[in-house]
Amino acid sequence: MKNKLSLIIFFIFLIFCFIIFYIGLDKPKIYIPKTNIERNLPVFKAKDFSSNTYIDSENIFAEENYYIVNIWASWCVPCRKEHSLLMELNQNKLIKLIGLNYKDNLNNAKKFINELGNPYNQILIDNDGTLSVEFGAYGVPETFVINKNKKIIKKFVGPINRRILEEIKLIIK
């Protein structure tokens, strides 16, 4: 009797495996990390880079536009590498580029911008890094794409390159 029961359980388990594999076949195979799936924008208050006043996040993301949030710092070497691409991205009038200055010295950051140019429509200061964490960043540089519904739809870890740039342009189209 006991033997029969275990047999039935075993067969049910096998059928379960079959179903799982069967469904698994239809699943898309492209790996998308979970953080890429649409997420709500965090609500925050941040200091503005130029005016040094606090701004609410609702006011920052007020317009009906695509936003790109780029986390950067003057001490971050890869950020220099991606800077020219950000300058290029700035040409696109459909996007507003928001810089998030991560754990940086204000003077160094200003020097960085003066030297390499300012691609950002607005720069926010994130002195202790909490804001970046709320965005779901692991480090610098990181880039987030935010759609018109104010959702984070894409995240790129590390410096953006030509390919990512094309991908961003494709999303915005």
Partner: protein
């Protein structure tokens, strides 16, 4: 063109012969005649012949670069060297399935002519079960993956073979691996037939052992070849990445190894029958399951040739038919004999083999869970994860030390009942092992306790197996050789993982840098053109502490068809260590990114696997019982 037609129609003929063979076999099964009708053997030969013709036709299409054949068009190119045109035959989904069929039919034919002294009904049933698999694969090939699809208009040029597959080790890897991987089908069929005929006995054990050994030897060498390829072609400097496709070849190896040991108990004591049958079934089921996992595209891997869902569904259904059929037969017909494992004396060879089984089952379940868990999780919770090496290392390594210790004692035990002998030499070996371990670990601080036990155990096993091999003449040589090979393997892996070191840096031509007392000098770069690729060769001079100079020439190859850039590592192999150098282009920069690795005992990993399989080969040529 012609070859294409011949190939296609001989496949269909092969299928028809399979069906006819089944009918003839069923008739012959009820026949009172004591011998298997010669018709059956002739038919089986014809079936094999048609598959061979089909296979040769495909090879000819590849050699002639006949692009009217879709498979050739997708996987070949006129500029490829002849050798890779031929190896391209099985370097793709359709061709490799034809190879599956070839091995399936070859093994059943060999089985028929080599099993003349076996009972007739058992032989015919084996044939029938094997034909079931063969028909399944014929249908699979013809319906979903026909290697002879016709293309019109005929393209002028093919798309080319994936450059990373253009490699000598990989050219022979599939045929050898398949002889083991697919060869296990005969064990599956034979054990089902034996169960149905209630023929699981000592005689059967003796007869099936040869087939288990053949599969095991080829599988071992096949896995090794794949691993060697990964080592120098993928340019990551490792030899095992716990990639799903590696795992699916490892799983049947684990069950086959357990089966090999169980068969010895069956052969000698007539016990462990359930183990033998279950392991025989599992081995081939895992092979099929592996084919499903890597071919359906359900997992992403190097071996996922094309993502065609119909193929996946076909293999999936076929796989489960086989599983249900075999389990049904097992539960209906199998009678556990009275020599139960409960009656084993705890200190005996039988018990130690049972312990070995449980270890193998543990390793198997770790690999199995690591491989399929991501699929289950994805379906149930839509969460995507990938399971990497740390998972396997964390779960396997702690069990490795007790496993090695068991391996020290197990083979020394006698059948039925025994005592531990030679305690003094064991203690001496233990002391030497601990001292050696201490010297090796002196400079290493990580995971000390863990490595202490593992390395001591590995040394202890190495000494005991060496003693068995070199100082005890005329005992069980094959076992001594295989176990010695295994202990050497474990030691090499351990040293390799503990003592490997690497550096990644950017360097311009003419620059030099120092690493671990050696000076690495980037002399020059040169261009080189071959028919299927052009390459940039970097010349590096490495001067070690003692002033000894070696040259390494890593390449960056730009393949023309399809255009793919690959980095070819250059490896200088010596007895004690490999020096591994790979370089990469950094776009828009004058410098190259290079990775230099020193990997001790790499050569010994390969040598030890060869010794291990040689042990199997020796056992194959031996007629007597294991002592």
């Amino acid at each position: 063109m012609l070859a294409n037609q011949i190939g296609y129609y001989s496949l269909i003929l092969g299928l028809l012969f399979s069906v006819y063979l089944c009918i003839v076999s069923i008739k012959d099964f009820n026949n009172a005649d004591k011998k298997v009708s010669t018709n059956i053997i002739t038919l089986s030969f014809l079936q094999l012949a048609f598959v061979i013709i089909s296979f040769i036709s495909l090879i000819l299409s590849f050699i002639n670069s006949d692009f009217s054949n879709e498979t050739v068009f997708n996987n070949s190119h006129t500029t490829k060297p002849l050798f890779y045109k031929i190896s391209g035959t099985w370097g793709n989904h359709e061709g490799s399935l034809l190879l599956w069929l070839l091995v399936l039919t070859l093994f059943i034919f060999l089985f028929l002519i080599k099993s003349r002294e076996q009972p007739k009904k058992y032989r015919i049933l084996t044939l029938l079960f094997q034909q079931l698999i063969i028909i399944g694969f014929f249908l699979f090939v013809l319906m979903t993956s026909n290697p002879f699809n016709y293309l019109f208009p005929i393209p002028a040029e093919g798309l080319g073979l994936n450059p990373i597959l253009q490699d000598p080790a990989l050219a022979i890897h599939p045929p050898i691996l398949y002889l083991g991987y697919v060869g296990s089908s005969i064990i599956f069929s034979a054990s089902l037939a034996a169960v149905a005929q209630n023929y699981i006995s000592r005689e059967w054990g003796q007869h099936i052992k040869k087939w288990v050994l053949i599969s095991w030897i080829f599988l071992t060498i096949g896995i090794m070849l794949g691993s060697i390829w990964a080592y120098y072609e993928l340019g990551w400097g490792g030899f095992w990445f716990w990639d799903p496709v590696e795992n699916v070849s490892l799983m049947p190896w684990l069950t086959l190894t357990a089966l090999l040991h169980c068969i010895l108990v069956l052969e000698r004591r007539g016990a462990l029958t359930s183990w033998v049958v279950i392991l025989s079934i599992t081995t081939f089921t895992l092979s099929m399951c592996g084919t499903f996992l890597v071919r359906s595209g359900i997992l992403n891997s190097v071996h996922t040739f094309a993502n065609d869902p119909t193929r996946g569904i076909f293999i999936l259904i076929f796989l489960f038919i086989l599983i249900f059929l075999s389990l049904g037969i097992f539960f209906l017909f199998h009678k556990e004999n009275n020599k139960n494992s409960d009656t084993f004396f705890w200190l005996s060879k039988e018990s130690s083999i049972l312990v070995n089984n449980w270890f193998m089952m543990y390793f198997l379940s770790v690999v199995l869970i690591g491989t399929v868990y991501p699929i289950f999780l994805d379906v149930i919770s839509a969460e995507k994860i990938s399971v990497g090496p740390p998972f396997y290392q964390k779960l396997i390594a702690p069990f490795l030390a007790p496993f090695l210790l068991f391996m020290v004692f197990g083979p020394k035990l006698k059948w039925i009942k025994s005592k531990i002998e030679n305690k003094s030499s064991l203690i001496i070996f233990l002391i030497i092992s601990v001292i050696l371990m201490f010297f090796i670990l002196k400079n290493i601080t990580t995971d000390l306790l863990f490595y202490t036990i593992l390395i001591s155990a590995a040394f202890l096993l190495f000494f005991t197996t060496s003693k068995e091999l070199f100082f005890k003449k005329f005992t069980n040589m094959s076992q001594a050789v295989a176990h010695f090979g295994f202990s050497l393997f474990i030691l090499s892996i351990l040293f390799n993982s503990i003592l490997s070191s690497e550096i990644t840096t950017n360097i311009k031509v003419g620059e030099r840098f120092n690493y671990n007392g050696a000076e690495i000098f980037f002399k020059k770069i040169e261009q080189d053109n071959k028919s299927n690729f052009s390459s940039i060769v970097g010349y590096f001079k490495i001067t070690n502490k003692k002033g000894k100079v070696i040259e390494l020439k890593p390449e960056i190859r730009v393949y023309n068809q399809p255009v793919i850039i690959t980095s070819e590592a250059d490896i200088k192999t010596t007895l004690l260590e490999d020096k591994f150098l790979v370089m990469n282009i950094v776009k828009g920069k004058k410098y190259f990114n290079i990775r230099y690795q020193v990997k001790p005992f790499m050569l010994w990993i390969w040598i030890s696997i060869l010794i291990l399989s040689f042990g199997g080969l020796m056992s194959l040529s031996k007629k007597k019982y294991e002592k």
